[in-house]
Symmetry: C2
Subunit: 215 residues, 2 copies
């Protein structure tokens, strides 16, 4: 059922469904129609049905969706029933913000190791995880069965570190460095390019042309 | 020329063009064909031509693109020739990471004020900008002609702060809080949902089904 090719556009929407369903579940809602979900999420009901049909539906005609079931199923599709082991490269402000975000761990994303080149940071603890020197990266990754590398480092260092991660067997990189990584095809990269996001906002501000635009 | 409706998909790609063109320019490249740009950026040349045609083209048949001109023009389309004034709400790790990212200022995004509810942070300086108490938000926004509010706060506080920002005239919010904001239609919101991004990566890991998947 999951074997057909799902578009990245659909995949991009799944975490949002998961988020809303989690809130509905926590709020005690047991079932919901695509119409009601559509109103809360501000997407069309037909979009919701189409998206869910990629995974075989989930709904029963006239009954709607069972919130807990749907939440669990989407969680499984997202791979959240499995534990993921992460190393975080970069213990600066951004790295610390990522490490301190407790919700990741709740979702099965365990930060096993934190690494930095800055000698002043090495040995410090972020959420009780010691910051290690970069020299220990390869042996640590192998020992801890790490599957995701997180790059919270400047772009100048990113290409080199990505290469090291790939070389020691990591197939998934969550990249915050302000550049696109050049990695083999079988390595998954998910980028968070903050500047790109801010520029998109700037485009839309510019496009909407507030009268009081200040030069 | 810019008046027709450009799809958000095209807009999403503009910052990436801008980034690559900036690097080419800094590296001394004066002109480039769509074919060459295609190879560097790993998108098809026809995609590049189509995207640029939304804005009238930029290229000359047989000559290719003038890198500096294209860089400048895309920068203008992105509104980067104008200064934007920002307030940052939340001076935790994430807020500090954002404030410390020097490149934003280089692109015309000036952080005028930083606010937090945490009394221990108030008065501290992040990149020489003092952290102010939330009570001063409204008067500060009005005084400093602020046009973008940045939310680097937990989701519990986000709805309330967004409402305050909108009420004092801010029409653009860069939202890092892990929730969708409910704002009037004329308020632009650009979300950075870190969890959503990590879940997307997790989906793709799960989908690719590495044999050594560890439970």
């Amino acid at each position: 059922m999951e074997e057909k090719e799902i578009s990245q556009a659909v995949i991009s929407r799944l975490p949002r469904y998961f988020r809303y369903l989690g809130e509905l579940k926590d709020g005690g809602t047991e079932r919901i129609s695509s119409q009601e979900l559509s109103e809360i999420m501000k997407v069309t009901a037909s979009q919701i049905r189409q998206d869910f049909n990629n995974f075989g539906g989930f709904g029963q005609q006239g009954y709607g969706y069972n919130v807990e079931f749907l939440y669990t199923e989407i969680g499984k599709i997202l791979g959240l029933h499995k534990k993921h082991h992460l190393v975080l490269i970069g213990a600066g402000n951004l790295g610390q913000a990522i490490a301190n975000y407790m919700n990741f761990e709740k979702r099965g994303f365990i930060i096993n190791g934190i690494f930095d080149i800055n000698k002043d940071l090495i040995g410090k603890r972020v959420r009780d995880i010691p910051v290690r020197p970069m020299e220990e990266l390869e042996s640590f990754v192998k020992e801890h069965n790490v599957d995701i590398g997180v790059l919270a480092i400047p772009k100048e260092a990113a290409a080199d570190v990505a290469k090291r991660l790939v070389k020691c067997g990591i197939h998934a990189i969550w990249n915050f460095a302000h550049m696109d990584l050049n990695v083999p095809k079988d390595v998954l990269v998910e980028n968070v390019h903050l500047s790109d996001s801010l520029m998109k906002l700037s485009y839309n501000i510019n496009r909407c042309g507030k009268p009081e635009d200040h030069k």
